[in-house]
Symmetry: C2
Subunit: 345 residues, 2 copies
């Protein structure tokens, strides 16, 4: 296919590329003392504590460029990191990005990727302050480290839930996984019959959840506004089961999860039935929802009961009672993790 | 080849692997409030400013596992990041590591890599506080982000050199590149005749510089002790020419570099002659030396004249005088960057 607007990265060189993708940066945070362009960036949180988290995204493992627009990939790469910062009850303030590019990637493609990165930075009020750009022998590799700030000792760990605490979940779960199934199906059809147009009619919700996830800034802000200090918090990246098991193990507790309280969107349920998959299974094991899972003391319940974006899905118990799900049929089953096992792929 | 001690990463799973490689961490810094094991790490620099830098290292681009022991690779991956923190006149305190592993890498290999990582952490007094471990389709990918601290506004940029300042370099330059030439030569011989033993007799200095570089903590400490505040600083990762050009461009200045002042080790000179390469060319364009290039006001000269680890190699001029090297033969040439062009490989 002819492409008149392809510019090779090699024609710019590493420093030319960095200048190009950072030329329009406008810093948004007073904490950003020095941004892109030196050996390191300098941040001053003015007495607040610094929170840091990192993610590595590898083409073919974490994303498929065949159905992931680069703009969405840039956006998502930032958001998944910010989600970890919010899960600490902190506010993200800066990111640094490492990119390894194969020569298959043009400057125009990189521009699209950065459009998404800057869109996420703008939406969440974070500054891109540094990075590293290099070549890869195969595929696109994205490394993002996010920095946030939190008032001293206001961060929330995953190991500090208390017995009797209510288990809460933001938003709805499982849609991302169904979105992935749709795109994988259409990819397969396309590879077999390249002329066929993708049929994703009516599936914009689940596909949107996959391609353009959001981090739950609003939930962390709501908790602060209502002066609710969660006793523990974690973000849901590997599926609800896996995250509940982490939280229980690290807090030395068990829990009861009510199947009928697990929030699932109608659009996800309808879509799941098309694949003959149980919506609950998607919510438990699907992954990449980037919702927040947290615990609160029962006394705080009334403060959040009117927030439709938060569901109370269970409560914490002694460890010896185990980690259980109470099914819609009324039976009690042990919860097991069946999240995406990247390393077994 | 039979290998009785090979453990597959997949048998541990991602979380098992993380537990395994972080089981012996002992935090060294009061600033590390919360380390590995949550959505993010928490750092409190107690009023100091935070410095952050990141590097992405890709197998086949930045290192060759055929002649790079994993222990050395782990050590070097940390050190190259710390070098950037020192180049800001800051003290490194924490790192986070992202690793993407192909199934070719065993648990024993990862243990070796982390031995090197922890050796560097111990030597430089930094804490490993987080990371991300995932799979790669091909090769090993290492992402390291280092965090440091600096007293408010004591960081040193590369853009603030002044006309008349002296240009200084730590240690000696060019040896790393010669070390690489030796190992590439031996690799080629080995691939052609696998029975032949590598002949690296007498080349331990240049090979050591390649495989086990150090960051110049001692220089930053010396400058602090002598109360020398550099007017600008950058670490030498792409070769002296390239870094001088960065410093001049960003500071809006020119400079004169004296060829006969460029520090080169005798072992490097001897080795360079074996390859019929000019030692000066290695120092100017070799790269990966991880020495510091900095400028000081002439009035500070006497404070560092006795330090044998620091060489004054030139001085800063007006921009219109250009960036020049005064050769041993007495002629003046314009300095050009011929550093490793990763993106043209």
């Amino acid at each position: 296919m002819a492409d008149n607007s392809r510019t090779e990265i090699a024609d710019l060189g590493e420093f030319g590329l960095i200048d190009h993708v950072t030329r329009n940066i406008e810093l948004q945070n007073a904490s950003t003392v020095l941004g892109v362009g030196d050996d390191g960036a300098v941040i001053d949180h003015f007495g607040k504590q610094t929170v840091i988290t990192t993610d590595l995204l590898v083409e073919g493992v974490h994303f498929d460029l065949m159905y992931t627009p680069l703009r969405h990939l840039g956006y998502k790469s930032v958001v998944v990191n910010l989600s970890d910062i919010y899960a600490m009850n902190a506010t993200p303030t800066q990111i640094v990005i490492g990119l390894a590019l194969s020569n298959r990637i043009s400057l125009e493609a990189i521009d699209e990727f950065y459009e998404g990165v800057y869109a996420a930075c703008s939406k969440y009020g974070v500054d891109l302050v540094g990075g590293d750009t290099t070549s890869s022998q195969k595929g696109l590799i994205i490394s993002i480290t996010a920095v946030g700030e939190v008032s001293p000792d206001m961060f929330v760990k995953r190991s500090t839930a208390k017995k009797g605490d209510l288990l809460c979940v933001s938003g709805d779960l499982g849609a991302t996984y169904i979105g992935l199934l749709f795109l994988e199906r259409e990819k397969k059809i396309y590879l077999e019959s390249p002329g066929v147009q993708p049929d994703l009619e009516g599936e914009s919700y689940v596909i949107g959840r996959l391609l353009k996830p959001e981090a739950r800034k609003d939930i962390v802000e709501f908790l602060a506004e209502k002066e609710i200090m969660p006793t523990s918090m974690i973000d849901i990246s590997d599926g609800l089961s896996s995250e509940i098991l982490h939280l229980c193990k690290d807090s030395g507790l068990g829990c009861v999860l009510y199947e009928d309280k697990i929030p699932v969107a109608d659009a996800m349920k309808t879509a799941a039935f098309k694949f003959e998959i149980d919506p609950t299974a998607c919510a438990l094991s699907g992954g990449e929802d980037y919702e927040l899972l947290f615990t609160i003391p029962p006394s705080e319940h009334e403060k959040l009961v009117l927030n439709e974006e938060i569901s109370v899905v269970g409560y914490m118990t002694e460890a010896q009672e185990g980690v259980n799900i109470l099914t819609k049929g009324g039976s009690k089953r042990e919860l097991t993790a069946q999240g995406w096992k990247h390393l077994r792929q």
